[in-house]
Symmetry: C2
Subunit: 215 residues, 2 copies
């Protein structure tokens, strides 16, 4: 199955399709054409059909796509029917915010542990999960079938912690530290660099202000 390599450009669009189809499903919409979906999502119908056809033919000529079927298929493609245990490293504000976010469980991501080096935070509680000291991280990862680690620690320690996680069999890192991690092939890293995102916003604000000041 899924022989050819799918470009990350396509993968990056799948969650948005999934979101829109979920909403349509909840509204009771049964079928939708690429044309209708294109108007809703403000992308071309061509792109929608090309994207879906990377994974097989989900539609039917003359009919369009069945919303519920397509929703489920995209969920399956995204791997959301699988369960993945995760831990959070860094029990600061951001770490606790993510730990409290219930929707991840709905997608098969199961919150198993939380770690911090600050003794004052150790033993405190986030949704029933007690914060543990960093020294216990390796053992915990090995013994609890942990696939994903969420890094919400300062960049100074992120690289070293990532190495330790990799050595203990982590499969993926969701990295909120402002640093690029260097991991072996086959370990997935998804970066959320919030300050980069804010700088992009800054660029666009300032560019726009400059442009409207012209002529």
């Amino acid at each position: 199955m899924e022989a050819k390599e799918i470009s990350q450009a396509v993968v990056g669009r799948l969650p948005r399709y999934f979101r829109y189809l979920g909403e349509l499903k909840d509204e009771g919409v049964e079928r939708i054409s690429s044309q209708e979906l294109s108007e809703l999502m403000k992308v071309t119908a061509s792109q929608i059909r090309q994207d879906f056809n990377n994974f097989g033919g989900f539609g039917q000529q003359g009919y369009g796509y069945n919303v519920e079927f397509l929703y489920k298929e995209i969920g399956r493609i995204l791997g959301l029917e699988n369960k993945h245990n995760f831990i959070i490293i860094g029990a600061g504000n951001l770490g606790r915010a993510l730990g409290n976010y219930m929707n991840f469980e709905r997608r098969g991501f199961i919150f198993k542990g939380m770690f911090d080096k600050n003794p004052e935070l150790i033993g405190s509680d986030v949704r029933g999960i007690k914060v543990m000291p960093m020294e216990e991280m390796e053992r915990f990862v090995r013994e609890n079938d942990i696939d994903i680690a969420i890094l919400t620690i300062p960049k100074t320690s992120a690289v070293e912690v990532a190495d330790r996680l990799v050595q203990n069999g982590i499969r993926a890192i969701w990295n909120f530290a402002h640093v690029d991690l260097n991991v072996p092939d086959g370990i997935q890293v998804e970066n959320v660099h919030l300050s980069d995102s804010l700088m992009k916003l800054s660029y666009n604000i300032n560019r726009y202000m400059k442009e409207s000041n012209k002529d």
Copy 2:
């Protein structure tokens, strides 16, 4: 100045350059060639030179780029020398995490106010900023020269709140709600869809596991 339109692909890389150059500067590195930077950042030297040349010639043949100069120039291009007042809508875990994040001030983003509809949160304090009720948002935006609103509220209310912000002169929205906002031309929106990001990670984990199970 800056006549031609810069693609968002280029803009999206600027913060990363800025980060690396800042680190080089802090390490006392004085000059760097596109070749050296390319090895460090794992992108092509060609791309680096093309990217910089979108904004003018910052280097010198036979020498390379002056790190401190280039760092400052990119900061200027990103608009980081300008001040922008921001407010946070939604005083939940994520909103408070962002409010507590000091580094934004360093980049010219100034935390001015925080709003929530939950009466229990109103009056509570994040870094000296008191949480105000939603009803005061419009007036506050108008009277305090607020450029940016950070939305950390559920998707059900995000669209309506965004409209109210736009009507009261907001320039940009940093949107953490899992919904696409529809704003007029000239209002900048930068989305941080965390669950989309996690689904991408999910796709890549599962694809990798499938592939290594093959043959």
